[in-house]
Symmetry: C2
Subunit: 744 residues, 2 copies
């Protein structure tokens, strides 16, 4: 026993001689720190960011060090304290380097020693909820967060510490920590998942600081052996690992990122993973420049920053595709460092500076310094978000997200159409769903996730059961539901095999932007093609959305198409019966969470709904069959803990239907002021919408406005841009090339 | 026939000789205009306001003049056009005077002539909804609005017009218009009501311009004879006229205003009436300075401006006491002129300038000029809203509104306790109800009115039937309901006889502000006293609200006390059953509009509810009996047109109860960020609340916080500030003078 201890000590001694590299070398470098010190007091935004962090850390280090025995879920005391500790440690380390004041290094050392005393005594975290429980936190993911931040702190104070202290820390804390996250938690570490990215980076970062090749290799390439059962699953029901799946940081760059930089889980998790992805890249750039990590996969890391910035509304908030908590935005700390790194290690794109300026802080490293200097020197240009297609899948061939933006005066209308693959365990069953915005206002909303992240009262801040039973279900989204069953029967494996197919996209005419996509796998023997157009024509005050959903099936079905309008109803064109007592709309697949507030029949060729939200008016006009059922429903049934928002929806239900086409427009018009109490343009401008043509090749739509002016739109069902098309409709002859034509 | 015409012409000629007064003399004066012209270009805020209005009018006068045949309800085309016309006419008249450019006078003349051509042909407005239909608009009220504005335009261009033009306008338009509003519409004109104020001022103003003593007298003193039936009512069910009621402008100043300047209908209508009240006062000051109108009733007009400014939240939005549309604020045009007039004709109070500066515009008259000059000269001081008591009733002896404000850091907590009289036809049946704010966030809300003012789709912009069936009912408010019946049985006459009695109020200790009031008429043989305290003690992050509602009755009843919390539930301390299908809570008195979402039993001495709203946490803790029923309900049942907001409430129901005391605290704590996803202080600090004493003279409350620190509050039931009080509770002896004591 004693012999083993001495032997390990000797090995550690040898290891520490091998670590002949200089420190810091991870995020900060010796040379970089020199440069930062020279610029202090000369770069306002850097100085302000430094002052903020100094004030925060100075206040913190006056308090007693608290390293509590882990106990609580997210939101609880021990969770929040350990989280605070790692954030402060990283900052204190940076302050030590930049300000060269020993008190920060002493603080880091003392906290680390406190952790080193406790860590060897820790069992697995007592909370049993996670598929991969941590030690400091209820899940390994948060332990990995801790190590990603703390490895930076360790790097910063490395030279300040005595060898003995370093040896102690590595032996009692960092190596067991890295081992626990990797070889002892393969189901967490050896996956393609944002969790694993954190794990890989945590282990890789501490490996770089310790110059430990094993952990560096684990971080980059995963574990060779993991013993993960082929059907193992995480808490969200996601499969842990596909057979033959590569793992590690590089595999997590290869696989979930498309060549356009879209991350298949969606922007909310892309944002979350951005920090480890980018910070490890920075560390690899500094320690292993020969890897040229920023060129990896044609520069996918930098592309992913642009993808993320484009996946935001006018307030910088991410579109809540798949599991996404609304309100998360590019003001998050992850995006501050991502934007700084993309500027510094990319092409010093001045448009990134305008985002950094809005963020109003920079990271305290050389990337942040460069950004702050460029802002000081007024180099920034506007970051203009344009209409965009972001492919999904590692090869860019597994669907896509289409974003159409159309600006008029101060109103920017944005369509987000989701034609992606499943999106791993955070995916929703909502093929070809969409949301529609005016600036940051949701006109037709995507629900997002059912979770209150880090609010302990709500299931410890974790996912709520309604996330699975409602938020992920198809009926929770603005897309087609057949026979009240979710896409792919709500089955994760089936859903993960398929993706919607982009037929064509054309943004060349800013007043007529079109995306057409097709889904043939969501329901058996059924295909539906959705063509969405954002149209800016003189008949309308603002750009409007035209949605054409063409459904073909070999049998009769019931179809539901929900419109999650956001706001309060002003008027409907159709009559309905309001329920005296309200019942859930169904018993499963999300329907059990919708109250049926009212039901009517269309009884006309068109129905119209006008509602008000945030001082604007909106109207939905839809083509209907006279016997279409119109259901006014509201989220919130079977929600005993009040976990869901009580938001409304209108559902057009078609029963016993073979083939059908859902056609609708969504307009934003006018405004209301509560101060002047004047209502401007409170009515839809649409008199009628008609389907004037529909065969195997073409669809034709006619929109007639209130002044009887008509707009005719024709488009192909297939991508056929070369041929000259010709159609005669109602004696008018239309000839065009390209996929679509508009006449008004 | 011809003789009569010639005779009338001669009479008009004579009349026009009598009008030897100079013009303008109403709002602008010849001398005042000179002064304004001299200052042009030297007073930034005045110049900016002038430029805005010039731009607006210049754009408008390029368009064709549109004076349509009246047809539509509010929000409809003809309504909005006539409204736009009067606003533009007033502004064009002012521009003519200030800029001395004829094009404005020509525009005013041409529009007025167009009205003069149409007016004699007009029948009563075709929309039949009003108790007092207008000609240009669906109700006389809007016609009166028109004349209040247009009489100013006429005054401004009076000297520009030829005598023939003036004679024509007066004969065909103004005199018939004034006659229609007065002698032909006595049910509108001869009341104590904001409607009549507009009517009185319209007729009085045009009387002043025309120097027509009859109409001036009608305006000031009402009609001598009106033939109004003693039981005549308006659309809101309000009695038109009490027997012997004085009428006219002066009576409308005497009666609904309290000596403190509180207007009995509530701030929303006070704001609406403010414009005619103040503008006519300005006109009377200019034309009849001997009246000393601003000194009338001890300067009630100026006091009313201060009362209104104090009846706002931190965003300047009026508290929605009685019928009030939320969002209306001191940024409205009525308050711009009111604040300017109060500054100019009052004591040049520099704190008014800070409001004017926020309004960022001034009226284009000498009051506005003075305000803008003072702002230019940096004379403004902050307008500090303090805790306040505003008496109600013409003599100040018919109840009151109590406002308690308690500020900590950037959070200002505001209690608005309504212990008023009925408030005429716009009153709600909510004796001793309250709302509670943090800045502009409603923690516990007052519903306000059920109406979408000027939104045509919603009942022509008029009151919705749910205003009567829900918004006015007691159960829609945070106050006591006995046996599911509204106060006074919801009977207007009965309610109008009574008011709540203020027992005492004490704001002397900013950390312990208290109001106590009593209601003995709302329910037969039942009295309830409500004592509300805003408490700032070290146990709590923020000031908290303590509410003690002490009920005594001679028989057993069911009691309901609703808490209209605003936001989403995070947790409850009590168990409840959620309904699988939801039913209305009752069948009448507003209960038919509440869905019963869940029901539980308190089963404990305290219940607690924590919810989140606008990134803050709030907790309600209430003392309960174990068999108290807790109902979680939501507004929206029996609401077939979706007229109501779907807001939640918690109701504590006590059945078969003789006497009881409802005791609760409301805390705001912590915060949540959607960007950092960190939840701070998400839990209530309260462990327990107890009633430790309650006899005929005293009530004692003990609040124990989570760290087991206790706060004991004792207060008297009667106003007894002189005697030395002594109580022994649980062996502790408390001695004090004054109505209350706090020990912690």
């Amino acid at each position: 026993m004693r012999f083993i201890k001495i032997y390990s000590f000797l090995l550690l001694l040898i290891a520490s001689f091998i670590q002949a590299q200089e420190h810091p070398n991870l995020i900060l470098t010796k040379k970089g720190v020199q440069e930062i010190r020279q610029q202090l007091g000369k770069v306002p935004l850097f100085d302000a960011s430094l002052a903020d962090i100094k004030a925060e850390v100075d206040a913190e280090i006056l308090k007693p060090i608290i390293v509590p025995i882990p106990k609580d879920m997210a939101g609880g005391f021990t969770h929040e304290q350990h989280k605070k500790n790692y954030l402060i440690l990283q900052k204190a380390g940076v302050l030590y380097q930049i300000l060269n004041e020993e008190k920060y290094a002493i603080y880091v050392r003392d906290v680390l020693l406190a952790y080193a005393r406790m860590y060897p005594t820790l069992p697995i975290h007592p909370q049993e909820r996670s598929y991969s429980r941590g030690k400091l936190f209820w899940q390994c993911l948060n332990d990995a967060n801790w190590l990603v931040y703390v490895s930076q702190a360790y790097d910063c104070v490395y030279d300040f510490l005595s060898k003995k202290e370093r040896n102690l820390l590595e032996k009692e804390l960092f190596k067991p920590f890295a081992k626990f996250l990797s070889v002892e938690s393969p189901q967490f570490f050896n996956r393609i998942h944002n969790h694993s990215t954190w794990g890989n980076v945590a282990v890789g970062m501490i490996g770089l600081v310790m110059n430990d090749k094993t952990y560096i290799d684990y971080g980059l390439n995963g574990l060779k052996e993991d013993g993960i059962a082929p059907d193992a699953r995480d808490n969200d029901g996601g499969l842990i690992k596909k057979p033959g799946q590569k793992t590690g940081y590089l595999a997590n760059l290869d696989d979930p990122f498309s060549p356009d930089g879209y991350y298949t889980e969606g922007p909310y998790y892309q944002r979350y993973a951005m920090y480890p992805f980018m910070i490890f890249a920075e560390a690899l750039h500094n320690t292993k420049p020969e890897m040229k990590i920023f060129d990896y996969k044609n520069g996918v890391l930098l592309k992913s920053v642009y993808a993320l910035l484009n996946l935001t509304n006018s307030e910088g908030e991410f579109f809540p595709l798949n599991d996404g908590q609304k309100g998360m935005s590019y003001y998050s700390r992850e995006l501050v460092s991502a934007v700084n790194i993309a500027y510094y290690f990319g092409n010093q794109d001045p448009s990134l500076l305008s985002i950094a300026k809005k963020q109003d802080r920079v990271s305290l490293d050389n990337a942040g310094l460069q950004v702050a200097m460029a802002i000081r020197d007024a180099k920034e240009k506007p970051f203009v978000k344009k209409s965009l297609l972001l492919t999904d899948g590692s090869d860019g061939k597994q669907g896509s997200v289409g974003i159409i933006r159309s600006k008029k005066d101060n109103n920017e209308f944005t369509l987000v159409m989701k034609n992606t693959s499943q999106g791993l365990s955070h995916g929703h069953y909502d093929k070809m769903s969409y949301s529609f915005y005016n600036n940051a206002n949701e006109i037709l909303q995507d629900y997002g996730l059912a979770r209150f992240v880090n609010i302990e009262q709500k299931n410890g801040g974790g996912y709520l059961k309604e996330n699975k039973t409602f938020a992920k279900q198809t009926i929770a989204h603005n897309t087609l539901v057949q026979d009240e069953v979710s896409h792919f029967g709500g089955d994760f494996e089936t859903g993960s095999k398929y993706f919607s197919e982009l037929i064509y996209v054309d943004y060349s005419n800013p007043d007529f932007q079109i995306i057409s996509a097709k889904e043939v796998n969501a329901y058996p023997n059924t295909e539906f093609q959705r063509t969405m157009i954002v149209l800016n024509v003189p008949s309308f005050e603002n750009p409007i959305l035209l949605d054409v959903l063409d459904v073909k099936s070999n049998a009769k079905h019931q179809y539901d198409l929900p419109y999650y309008y956001n706001g309060q109803i002003l008027s409907t064109s159709f009559k309905y019966d309001s329920a005296r007592s309200v019942e859930p709309l169904g018993t499963k697949n999300g329907y059990q969470h919708l109250w049926r507030e009212a039901t009517g029949l269309a009884k006309a060729d068109n129905i119209q709904l006008t509602w008000m939200h945030n001082n604007q008016f909106h109207s939905l006009t839809a083509v209907t069959s006279t016997d279409d059922e119109i259901i006014l429903a509201r989220i919130g049934a079977n929600d005993p803990e009040f976990n869901l928002r009580k938001d409304p929806t209108l559902i057009i239900r078609k029963k016993d239907t073979h083939n059908t086409t859902y056609i609708s427009t969504t307009e934003t018009h006018g405004s209301y002021s509560y101060v002047t109490e004047s209502a401007k343009n409170a009515y839809s401008s649409i008199k009628k919408i008609e389907e004037i043509y529909n065969d195997t090749t073409y669809i034709g739509i006619k929109i007639t406005d209130k002044s009887d002016k008509s707009t005719v739109l024709l488009f192909t069902k297939n991508n056929d841009t070369t041929k000259e098309h010709q159609l005669t409709i109602d004696k008018a002859v239309y000839k065009w090339t390209g996929n679509s034509i508009i006449k008004y």
